[in-house]
């Protein structure tokens, strides 16, 4: 299990050091600093073994978090824990920075005492933790006996992510389908790989212990219903809209065995913000933009680049925050750009031409052309032409996912599914959206 946990600033100075196991000595703190933080070269692995001690590290801005062990621990668990630790810290004091860590070091020690016991991760849901580990440190003493046992039963209970007795005057639900569409395209326009990784993010403000059921146009579910004798007309309609989900994972509140057997998503939601599910699709993806590059080398000191982008969605919809990055060689001396729409600038520090367009409707086309002057070099190695990348945001789900229903049942309190105000929103963003040139 985890033997110790250290937090360092960018210089390698220890901000937090908590040792859980006897086999981890103080020298481990220095070993990591010397061998990893102060190492000249780029990090070659997130797991480092120094003198039979293994170090797992993650970096958040310029803060290093390192977990140390001498045993054969579950490596995936250690990383998941480190991410979780970051989430908890963020939940308590927003940004993870040197200053915030120093300002909250007593709190962090208190958290570390609670969420890791002898190196075993314990309940680390920030919602639950916040009920009894507070920044003021005073609250904990004023709990009544009932409150105390409520805390312990929540921390250890089956529904560790939600406490009893939550009340809202207005029961409200916000559901966001956030997708990032990833693409790697060859210069000839052939799709080398494309996938959508999506998340269903919720904000729930519901009273009591509601039971929720979430439905979407999952192909397996729809096909099943068709099998149950829906009319042919219906099936044709819904069949077209259903999507094939390659894989999905759920927040721990979702009953996985039920999903496995019936493919229904039912859960008692945490209060406030959480990510209900993640999913991945690869079939029938709507690629919102197509990038057509044309690079011509004119002699040894000049490049001509022409890039066309085409929007490929309903003309009534608007894409936003469009940005195209066209990489330029390291020995670029000057760039002239002409674009039909938006603004384009050569950014020498990024070695790229950045072309920004605020809004663009569907089924449109736009073009940029640039002349790049190069300095003559002796370097033998050719410029490797990194891919042209693109960023954008569109108001639909590129995977085609549609929310069919989200039902809320709370038998003990007197509100029904109809009384809950529900909001659904679809946002498609670019993930790694690249076209080779």
């Amino acid at each position: 299990m985890i033997g110790g946990l250290f937090i360092y600033n960018h210089k390698g100075e220890v901000l937090i050091s908590r040792v859980y196991r006897d086999d981890i000595g103080r020298n481990a703190v220095d070993a990591f600093r010397v061998n990893v933080i102060h190492a000249r070269q780029q990090v070659r692995s997130p797991v480092t073994n120094i003198a039979r001690t293994s170090f797992f590290h993650v970096k958040r801005s310029n803060i290093w978090l390192a977990a140390v062990t001498k045993q054969n621990v579950n490596a995936a668990m250690v990383f998941e824990f480190l991410y979780k630790m970051c989430d908890v810290m963020t939940a308590y004091f927003s940004k993870i920075s040197e200053e915030n860590i120093k300002n909250n070091f007593v709190l962090i020690y208190e958290l570390l005492d609670e969420i890791l016991d002898f190196g075993y991760p314990q309940n680390s849901e920030s919602g639950a933790l916040k009920t009894f580990i507070t920044q003021q440190g005073i609250k904990s003493q004023h709990h009544s006996k009932d409150e105390q046992s409520q805390i312990t039963s929540q921390v250890t209970g089956q529904i560790g992510w939600r406490r009893e007795g939550i009340k809202y005057r207005r029961n409200e639900l916000f559901l966001d389908v956030l997708e990032s569409v990833n693409l790697l395209m060859s210069p000839q326009g052939q799709v080398l790989s494309a996938h959508v990784s999506g998340r269903v993010v919720m904000k729930s403000y519901l009273s009591g212990m509601p039971e929720c059921k979430f439905g979407m146009n999952d192909k397996i579910v729809i096909d099943k219903q068709q099998g149950k004798g829906a009319t042919s007309d219906d099936s044709a309609k819904s069949g077209k809209q259903s999507i094939a989900i390659d894989d999905c994972t759920f927040h721990q509140c979702v009953r996985l065995s039920k999903f496995d057997s019936e493919r229904s998503i039912s859960f008692i939601p945490p209060d406030g913000d959480y990510e209900l599910m993640r999913y991945r699709t690869t079939k029938d993806i709507i690629l919102p933009f197509r990038v057509i590059p044309l690079v011509r080398e004119v002699g040894r000191t000049k490049l001509e680049v022409k890039v066309v982008i085409k929007s490929n969605f309903k003309a009534s919809l608007l894409a936003q925050k469009i940005e195209v990055r066209i990489p330029t060689p390291l020995n670029t001396s000057g760039v002239q750009v002409i674009c039909m729409k938006g603004k384009a600038k050569y950014k020498a520090s990024d070695n790229a031409i950045v072309w920004k367009i605020k809004r663009m409707a569907g089924m449109k086309e736009s073009q940029i052309s640039a002349e790049i002057e190069l300095l003559p070099t002796n370097e033998k190695k050719k410029w490797t032409r990194p891919p042209i990348s693109m960023n954008f945001e569109v108001p639909f789900a590129p995977s085609g996912l549609k929310v069919r229903y989200l039902k809320v049942f709370e038998s003990k309190l007197n509100y029904s599914d109809h009384d809950v105000i529900k909001w659904v929103r679809y946002i498609g963003r670019s993930g790694i959206y690249e076209t080779r040139c």
Binding site: R52, Q71, T249, K382, R385
Partner: protein
């Protein structure tokens, strides 16, 4: 460190906001004194502030242990935050102040009775972290109460506390019956209590490999599976990792567990997913392959594995390392998922390299075009390691998918044209392999390769190029000139290049004898006369003798047909792979090493195995693995579980030196030719002769010296020595003249019970300068035993068999024979505990057996261990006094001369003798095979049966062993 404290100090002066960071600002002078005053202040707030400052100093590494009593005094408080801080301090310093730590006991006992469950849990949690023996005893009662507490939060904390206590004092935990209470908690109503109890028990069980602590049976498994649905993500991981250790009774049970575990594949926590994958991969082995469910399960595994690749990069890395194993074990799972392993431009380098590895493993005729296009793209990237690996991958594709070979070669040629130095070199190395795989097909490119001769500066590339020139000497007009140009700087080349150059020139000579006579003379004399490298010299002499005695034979040997090279390289050896599959998700799977290779102590020594399929119609397959379960049980029982590298032994693969006709040559490994890959095995393969010079070219034996040509050399020369003719000739004699060395009586090493009827008694002796392992083998089974072979694990002094185990087979039932195995110390070295421990694997036609024995260290005392007086004096003074050890030998009735004589027989040499006041002082020296000198002073009081030995040695670890030898030698 001080720096940021100071910097903060400044901030504070400028009136920064009052936050916790101010506690890092203590002034240097008299700070301890000031803190002391503050800690003893009457004001609560001031006290708390002071404790915070103490903790801050502790964090940055300052020693604040002097404040122990003052801080502990603050413990009696109802302020929870202050209490937690004091506890934190206590956990850090209790060990260094054990007497004072006792002061804390009362508070713990009191807190464990507190009405607030949070305080009870806090007390029990902290208590277990106080590693002071005296205290632990006081804590048993409170712990017992907390284990039965009404509040689940306290119980789950107490469960972990048992593991903590066990780590401090295992005996105490057993005596107090905590283990039974912990077992009861597995049936607790609260899932988190169950999960923590499982975690604690698993950990405790790891240090008691033979105990039946976890006692997994269908009922308890059922409880665990129920808890699995209800507990936190972390609890699910503990339970799944524990489940993975269970071996279901039959395929039906296996299937029902799999069915209940599969839903976990959709969990958002990657660790839960990977642990579930581990359980499934393991239990799947037991399902009959024709079962529908088996196919369903295979299909279910792919999507979650792919999803892991959209996690954060660090987790992707862990996932990829595991996928690499899974792909080797069950390639069918991910064979259609090639695209997801394509490298993204912004992936961290460690992710890129791993993806590339998996791409090659998944490459097949169906996807090769896509893969090649990608690889070509990668070969122009920035990171040198990545580019090299990409180029190498192209070569591997060519070898793996024959249809693609031509395209690969042309891609490689394109890359060579880029003239980027490391790309060219890498390309040449892989082209050499392609030549070997497809002889007489692509030699037209040789001309292009030769153009790049000058730019090659890496040994591997130079060696590859030289091999190509030598191999195709007849087609290259100026081969002699090319090789001659290398010869100029012969002594500056690395061994790899030198060996290759030697072989290449001999090949050239055999092909074009007339014009190259001078060249071959030159290289032979360079290799034999001017070189210090034994490998090079040996190879040189052998060629020389071959060429001078029988040129025709030379041609047959040197220009022999080369064995085909294998398609897959870098495959993990099957037994190791199986073990690693059982460790999916853990560090072992990330390192691709068994836990014993990186975990100290007893933990992780147990070897995990995949259960065998029980279904019918699979008999051939179950036979394949048939030897495996037996092998797992054996080490657990026979070898005392010390923290040593049993793993290496199990991973060795024993091939009999001579396969007797009629008898099957041992259980075949599941993957036919793969055993060639286990380095070092070549030593055992006397019959697997590889022609000289054939050892380059993809074959992994490259660099392992010459591959033991059976035709040319007497078989006794196949010894695994790293060269050196002297060693070789020593091996000829079996039993030399005994020189009076003390030989301990034979002891039972392997009881017939554990050896499936084979009983081995044995001892060690040193005869005529050769260490002999003398064994009496008795066949107590009903059937004949054949095909004996022996292998040692790595050990402290690198002992290794100097030849194959010569057992006049067959060994019929009830027959007993004595065998003597000469040993040398050229084997791999690894420190053992105890130092003189030796782990041995003996194989026969029935199974592989493992045992460990201890050899007297006197076997390692060499004959020329006598030190010069002056040197002795100087050395004695030179060795620091900490390294001196003193022992007493009681009941010894020899006088000093007799003792000296006796010891001399064991190569312990008396250098000087002095008599002071009726006390004889003998000064003696001995030298171990690895050059360690041991110096002793033996004091013999006339008339007293007690001897005193003072011993000095630079490697103080050996003293205990040396002392045992003294005692044994003197008393016999």
């Amino acid at each position: 460190m001080q720096e940021w404290a100071n910097q903060l100090c400044e901030n504070r002066q400028f009136g920064s906001k009052m936050t916790d960071s101010k506690y890092f600002t203590t002034t240097k002078k008299g700070e301890i004194f000031e803190l002391k005053a503050e800690l003893n202040s009457d004001k609560k707030e001031k006290k708390k502030e002071a404790v915070k400052k103490v903790i801050a100093s502790m964090t940055v590494g300052k020693d604040v242990s002097a404040l122990f009593p003052d801080v502990v005094n603050c413990m009696q408080t109802d302020n929870l935050e202050l209490k937690k801080l004091v506890y934190l301090y206590l956990m850090n310093y209790a060990k260094s102040q054990p007497d004072m730590a006792i002061m804390a006991v009362n508070t713990f006992v009191k807190d464990c009775e507190d009405p607030n469950p949070l305080i009870r849990a806090l007390a029990v949690r902290t208590m277990g972290c106080i590693r002071v023996d005296k205290i632990t005893e006081y804590l048993c009662e409170p712990l017992r109460k907390c284990l039965k507490d009404e509040d689940p939060y306290v119980r789950k904390t107490a469960a972990v506390c048992v593991a903590k206590l066990h780590d401090i004092n295992a005996q105490l935990v057993e005596d107090q019956g905590f283990l039974d209470t912990l077992k009861d908690l597995i049936s607790d109503s609260n899932p988190m209590v169950v999960a923590n109890a499982v975690a604690a028990l698993s950990e405790i069980a790891e240090s008691h490999p033979n105990s039946n602590l976890l006692d997994l049976n269908p009922q308890s498994i059922n409880k665990l599976l129920t808890a699995l649905n209800e507990c936190t993500e972390w609890g699910q991981i503990f339970i799944l990792d524990c489940l993975a250790n269970y071996t279901p009774r039959d395929d039906r049970e296996s299937q029902s567990i799999c069915e209940r575990v599969t839903p976990r594949l959709s969990h958002a926590n990657s660790a839960v997913v990977l642990s579930a994958v581990k359980v499934l991969m393991k239990f799947m082995e037991m399902l009959p392959k024709d079962l529908d469910y088996y196919g369903t399960l295979l299909k279910k595994l792919a999507p979650p594995l792919v999803t892991l690749l959209s996690a954060e990069p660090e987790l992707q890395y862990v996932a990829l390392r595991n996928i690499n194993l899974i792909v080797q074990k069950r390639p069918e799972i991910l064979k259609h998922e090639m695209k997801v392993f394509f490298v993204k431009y912004n992936d961290p380098i460690y992710v890129k390299l791993e993806k590339l590895d998996i791409m090659i493993r998944l490459a097949s005729q169906a996807n090769i075009a896509q893969v090649l296009a990608e690889l070509k793209e990668y070969a122009t990237e920035v990171d040198v390691d990545f580019v090299r690996k990409a180029v190498r991958a192209i070569g591997r594709c060519a070898i793996k998918v024959e249809q693609s070979a031509e395209r690969c070669v042309s891609t490689l040629l394109d890359l060579i044209q880029t003239k980027v130095n490391y790309v060219v070199q890498e390309a040449i190395v892989v082209i050499k392999d392609i030549f070997r795989k497809y002889p007489n097909k692509y030699e037209s490119v040789i001309a292009t390769l030769c153009e790049n001769l000058d730019s090659l500066d890496e040994p591997e590339a130079r060696a590859a190029m030289i091999w190509i020139v030598g191999e195709y000497a007849e087609r290259i007009d100026n081969a002699d000139e090319l090789l001659e140009s290398f010869l100029e700087g012969f002594h500056d080349e690395s061994t790899q290049v030198q060996l290759q150059l030697l072989t290449a020139i001999v090949k050239l000579f055999l092909k074009k004898p007339t014009e190259t006579q001078e060249l071959v003379q030159q290289v032979l004399s360079l290799a034999t006369q001017d070189s210090d490298n034994p490998d090079l010299r040996d190879r040189g002499y052998i060629y020389w003798r071959l060429l001078s005695t029988d040129p025709v034979a030379a041609k047959e040997v040197v220009l022999a047909e080369k064995p085909l090279i294998s398609e897959e390289t870098d495959l993990i050896e099957p037994t190791l792979l199986e073990e690693l599959i059982c460790h999916i998700g853990t560090l072992a799977s990330v390192y691709h090493k068994p836990p014993s290779a990186f975990v100290e102590g007893s933990r992780g020594v147990q070897h995990k195995r995949i259960p065998i399929r029980s279904g019918s119609g699979e008999s051939s397959e179950s036979q394949d693995t048939g030897g495996a379960p037996g092998a797992t049980e054996a080490p657990a029982a026979v070898i005392p579980s010390q923290g040593d590298l049993l793993g290496d032994l199990l991973n060795l693969d024993l091939t009999p030196p001579t396969s007797t006709a009629g008898a099957p040559p041992g259980p075949p490994m599941p993957m036919g030719g793969m055993d060639l890959l286990g380095g070092g095995l070549d030593s055992l393969m006397g019959d697997e002769s590889e022609p000289l010079g054939g050892d380059i070219g993809g074959s992994p034996s490259m660099g392992s010296g010459f591959g033991a040509p059976a035709a040319v050399m007497p078989s006794s020369l196949n010894a695994p020595v790293g060269g050196g003719l002297g060693d070789l000739f020593d091996l000829g004699g079996g039993v030399g003249m005994p020189m009076g060395t003390f030989v301990p009586p034979k002891t039972l090493w392997l009881p017939a019970m554990k050896g499936k009827g084979l009983e081995i008694m044995g001892t060690f002796a040193r005869r005529a300068g050769v260490i002999q392992m003398e064994m009496t083998l008795t066949n107590k089974a009903m059937s004949v035993m054949t095909d004996f072979a022996i292998q040692f694990n790595r050990n402290s002094f690198g002992l290794a068999p100097a030849g194959p185990l010569q057992v006049p087979t067959p060994l019929s039932p009830n027959q007993t024979i004595d065998v003597s195995l000469p040993l040398n110390n050229g084997g791999p070295v690894m420190k053992m505990e105890p130092l003189n421990n030796l782990q041995v694997a003996v194989k026969n036609n029935i199974d592989v057996f493992y045992f460990s024995c201890q050899y007297p260290i006197s076997m390692l005392f060499v004959e020329d261990g006598k030190m010069d007086r002056q040197v002795f004096l100087a050395t004695w003074k030179d060795i620091p006094n900490e390294n001196e050890a003193q022992f007493q030998i009681n009941d010894c009735h020899l006088n000093s001369d007799a003792a000296s004589n006796k010891l001399q027989g064991s190569n312990v040499f008396t250098i000087a003798k002095r008599t002071v006041e009726g006390q004889d002082m003998l000064y003696q020296s001995m030298k171990l095979t690895n050059g360690i000198c041991v110096l002793t002073e033996l004091r013999v009081q006339t008339g007293s049966p007690t001897y005193t030995v003072s011993l000095k040695c630079r490697a103080a670890e050996v003293s205990q062993c040396v002392f045992q030898c003294y005692e044994a030698a003197l008393k016999n």
